[in-house]
Amino acid sequence: MFDRILIANRGEIAVRIIGTARRLGISTAIVYSEADADSLAVEMADEAIAIGPSPAAQSYLVIEKIIAAARAAGADAIHPGFGFLSENAAFARALAAENIVFIGPNAAAIEAMGDKIESKKRAAAAGVSTVPGFPGEIDTVARALEISEQIGFPVMIKASAGGGGKGIRVAENRAEVEEGFPAVRAEAKNAFGDDRVFIEKFIRDPRHIEIQVLGDKHGTVVYLGERECSIQRRNQKVIEEAPSPLLEAKTRAAMGEQAAALARSVNYDSAGTVEFVASGVDRSFYFLEMNTRLQVEHPVTEMITGLDLVEQMIRSAAGEKLSFAQKDVTINGWAVESRLYAEDPRRNFLPSIGRLKRYEPPHEGPLGPGIVRLDSGVREGDEISIFYDPMIAKLVTHAPTRREAIATQAMALDRFAIEGIRDNGAFLATIMREPGFLSGEFTTGYIKATFPDGFQGAPLGPRAAEQAIAACAFARSLLARRLAGISAGSKAVFDWAVLAAGMPSMVRVHLAPGRGHAAITFDQAGKEQAFESAWRPGRLLMEATLDGEEFALTLKPLPTGWAVAIAGSSLNVIIATPNEAALRARLPLKAAPDLSRIVLSPMPGLVVSVDAAPGQEVKAGEGLMVVEAMKMQNIIRAERDGVVAKVHVAAGATVAADDPLVELA
């Protein structure tokens, strides 16, 4: 076994690897860029070695620097994590030349699977089912018909140069091929100046399902069940689970056997993943690609198999034999993982960088019907930087059943409090309650289909509304009792008016002596409900029970009232004295500034170019300027037709989120 391993990675996966190494009695060294100098991983590792500037191309991706660091640290092996150099065969070979063990598969396997065409050939040769299709060019309708018949309907007719939804048609029968084939060619000619077209099997209700495989240097390969990764946004996985709600034992075994066969064919000797696309209609499945590394979503497999994949990788790399056989692999319960990203789901998931002013993740361990595991590489006060992937943490839950694992996940997400940056927690919490997701019947198009107009928060259910009001009324009563100088040892009754759309209009709070108990009555006729919470003013997260039902929410004080986030919804709640409520009703609502007229910067960034000038007529959707943030150029568009009245910023200016950019007349 190794004495010391170097981790050529950062963030949560580095922390994750250090944890396992420590448990195995292996000391750790880590490399870090300037941006990561104060990171949790650096703090945790036994030794940390600086490898230069923040951009990965000048640090984490420079093979020589990593090798020099390994030498300096006296490491006998390197774990590459995922991303960066994890699937770089040259890196694996360079390490071999230096007599440093690469904790991953052999270089030949990386190479064989790294090439898309090569890997498909290998897969076919190993008896893995691949998407039926004809890769060559097709000239005539007759030939197209012939090929379609061979593949079997439905088929997809696709322009070689296609993209963005253009130049793609699905044909269900011969007639549709006759009509669609020339159409696609014409469209491709027009759109891309290239009329080459190919045909392949169209997969109905596609799902992304992958098999975890594990091999050693002694020819043994096992598969550890599948992961369902269909919940994706722009090809980025968001939620993963294991097992998949689609598969039953027979398909699972077939898929696993194929994956293991492919792995064996390249002498696979580490943890790897074979990705398939599967049809939700008939569970037919086809090979996509193989990832020759640890996957981000590996924890769900760990939870249901009880294995530590990082440990298994280290043992395999050290030449140990797998200590179990395929028949020993059992699947226990259900695991779900959510990826928490620093992005704003309400603004089309734009990245949001900055300091984690508050970072209060849920506690690991038992919660509700399951248990919580958190793979996180940040602490409160850390910076989410522009240089790397904006993933903050992976929240994993495990329970006996899918329903319970999801319920635990929802509870854990409700208890995740973050301030300082935007995060997608509300979006994830919404999906954990969304019937389509709960049903287990979804496709890779789930997010687009479920949120066609983007995400605007979950609809607020009546019970969540009552919980939000109870929480705010309790908070207000606690503060009022203190302000009035009433001793916390005595009882106090408060009658409040509730100002929030579509909710009970009155709430009575009967504070019990002490700080944590109350009785809540909605409206006059409502029944009294017991309320309990250890919350104190100044805390972001409130955990409470109302009428015995547990819930959690975050609440931030506003000048009047609270901004509440509960179960994926957000709302402002004002708990007012009856007099205040009556006076509010007498004042006209102040007209909010017409924000469609003023185009605001959706994020902090740099103005790259300004394409609008005062007096210019613009149509809705027209680009007004380009703002760069996190190396992404974002086109700022007009939300409606109009004439540009004022341009507030010039190219080169730095803008903050919500800064006015352009005003339309």
Binding site: R355, Y359, P537, K590
Partner: protein, 510 residues
């Protein structure tokens, strides 16, 4: 007897009507509450006792004899805010446009006198058209009587002015002499002379809002200490403010039960200071994480933003926070920031509120505009204010404390009681680069040498230990323990006794 009681009720009802329902409705339509509605929101329920509701004006000229309304355009009295006594006057725009007559002024001065005698804050709500022109000099005399009492009450009882409508001419000077002015966005404005006169005299065409709206005074002129969204938000925030303040300089500020742990550690503060000394960070995060429950009442948040002033609590007791804000102009001291902070330091000193100063200041702002604008004297105000203050003063230097600004920001030498620094503090005459360019001017052509000298200078001074070795700092503390250490320091200062030499009053560089 019954009919006498009935008549009293009748008269009261008539007085309460003010200018009548129609005018009250007009007030609502403008987004404003009536004078009495405002009081009902400002004070605890049913705590208001009105005085002088039957007062009427004494003017007989210009047909005024027949035009009398009980109360005469202002509602006055006393009541409670969370159980604590305050005096209130609220101008009634529905009665003669809230204009000030001799009788109206006398109602105000009466409660000013009471407040001063009884040691309770005075809150004035303004929504009025200025002097009662029909009364002429009697109205002017009334103003001056109010002004005189504002002056005498200054530093004795807290005085708060809330501008909730027009406030022009003579009306502006009473608020100007009180401790705080708050305004309501879009429905209030204040100026000495209005747009019409401005146009005649200077040919400038401006609207009420452009000349004296809440935005102007809360961001540009600094006249207002805060602006809020509407009448309701404003009055609720005034209640919140009053909770921090003592009734007068004869009593300690109120303490309340704290829900927070005095020993709370904040590990994230160990990572607040960025690696690069020129990268800003938000000083408000530090304030939020060290005060009770993260709750503080910021004053003048949109003016002189390079310095933050706020009222907060530690262990339930009121403190004043003064903090340089690296997010704005690197936290430099300029004229606006100096004046803003100086006035606040003096306010705290008046009312026995300990001052916690958080320092990250690169110096005073250089420039022709600043020098022409009298930076010397404005900067001196803050220096003077800190130096004369005898309340407990606890200082924490987080990063830069350069030059004269180091002295100014509640340094040991200005009788700072407990002075701490974080390990990241740099206490020096100036930044290393600037210092080396002066000391080693003759080596400026040799970048290598300069770099070496700069490193030398930085190693020597870019830390708190030189100052600590001289005793100018009492300790170098870990950022995460800042709350606990400040609280401990404040505990030792509860019985602090320090007096300035007797004088009639000082002569602060105004």
């Amino acid at each position: 007897m019954q009919h006498i009681l009935d008549e009293l009720e009748d008269r009261r009802a008539r007085a309460r009507l003010g200018g009548g329902e129609k005018r009250v409705e007009a007030q609502h339509a403008k987004g404003k509450l009536s004078a009495r509605e405002r009081i009902s929101l400002l004070l605890d329920e049913d705590s208001f006792e009105e005085y002088d509701m039957f007062v009427e004006h004494r003017c007989a000229e210009f047909g005024m004899a027949a035009n009398k309304i009980p109360g005469d355009g202002v509602v006055t009295g006393q009541g409670r805010i969370n159980g604590r006594l305050v005096y209130v006057f609220s101008k009634d725009f529905t009665v003669f446009g809230g204009s000030l007559s001799g009788a109206h002024a006398a109602k105000i001065t009466k409660i000013q006198d009471m407040a001063l005698r009884n040691g309770a804050p005075i809150i004035g709500i303004f929504d009025a058209g200025g002097a009662r022109i029909q009364e002429g000099v009697e109205s002017l005399a009334g103003y001056a009587e109010i002004f005189q009492r504002n002056i005498l009450a200054s530093g004795v009882v807290p005085q708060i002015s809330v501008i909730m409508g027009p406030c022009a001419g003579g009306d502006v000077y009473s608020p100007a002499m009180t401790d705080f002015i708050f305004m309501v966005r879009d429905t209030s404005y204040m100026y000495v002379t209005g747009p019409d006169v401005v146009k005649t005299v200077t040919n400038e065409i401006v609207t009420h809002e452009e000349l004296g709206g809440a935005r102007v005074h809360a961001t540009k002129s600094g006249v207002a200490d805060g602006a809020f969204e509407n009448d309701i938000e404003t009055l609720l925030q005034i209640r919140r403010l009053v909770d921090f303040l003592p009734g007068s300089n004869r009593e300690k500020p109120p303490a309340r039960e704290s829900f927070d742990d005095p020993d709370r550690l904040e590990e994230s503060l160990d990572r607040l200071i960025p690696a690069n000394p020129n990268t800003p960070y938000d000083m408000k995060e530090l304030i939020e994480k060290i005060v009770d429950e993260g709750d503080f009442f910021e004053l003048s948040p949109d003016y002189g933003k390079n310095i933050v002033i706020a009222l907060a609590r530690m262990e339930g007791e009121t403190i004043g926070v003064v903090a340089n804000q690296p997010m704005v102009l690197a936290g430099v001291l300029d004229s606006d920031a100096s004046r803003k902070a100086a006035r606040f330091v003096r306010f705290c000193d008046c009312f026995d509120i300990p001052i916690v100063t958080l320092v990250d200041v690169p110096g005073f702002l250089p420039g022709v505009k600043q020098e022409y604008g009298g930076l010397i004297k404005h900067g001196a105000k803050l220096l003077f204010a800190y130096g004369e203050a005898t309340v407990p003063k606890v200082t924490v230097i987080t990063r830069k404390a350069y030059g004269g600004a180091y002295d100014v920001m509640s340094s040991k030498h200005l009788r700072g009681d407990v002075n701490y620094a974080w390990p990241s503090a740099e206490i020096a005459v100036m930044g290393a680069k600037g210092a080396v360019e002066i000391i080693f001017r003759n080596e400026i052509g040799e970048p290598e040498k300069i770099a070496e000298r700069t490193k030398e200078y930085r190693d020597r001074f870019a830390n708190p230990f030189v100052a600590a070795s001289l005793g100018y700092l009492d300790d170098v503390i870990k950022p995460h323990s800042t709350r606990r250490r400040i609280i401990r320091a404040l505990r030792t200062l509860k019985n602090k006794k320090l007096e300035n030499p007797w004088k009639k009053h000082d002569n602060i560089p105004l």
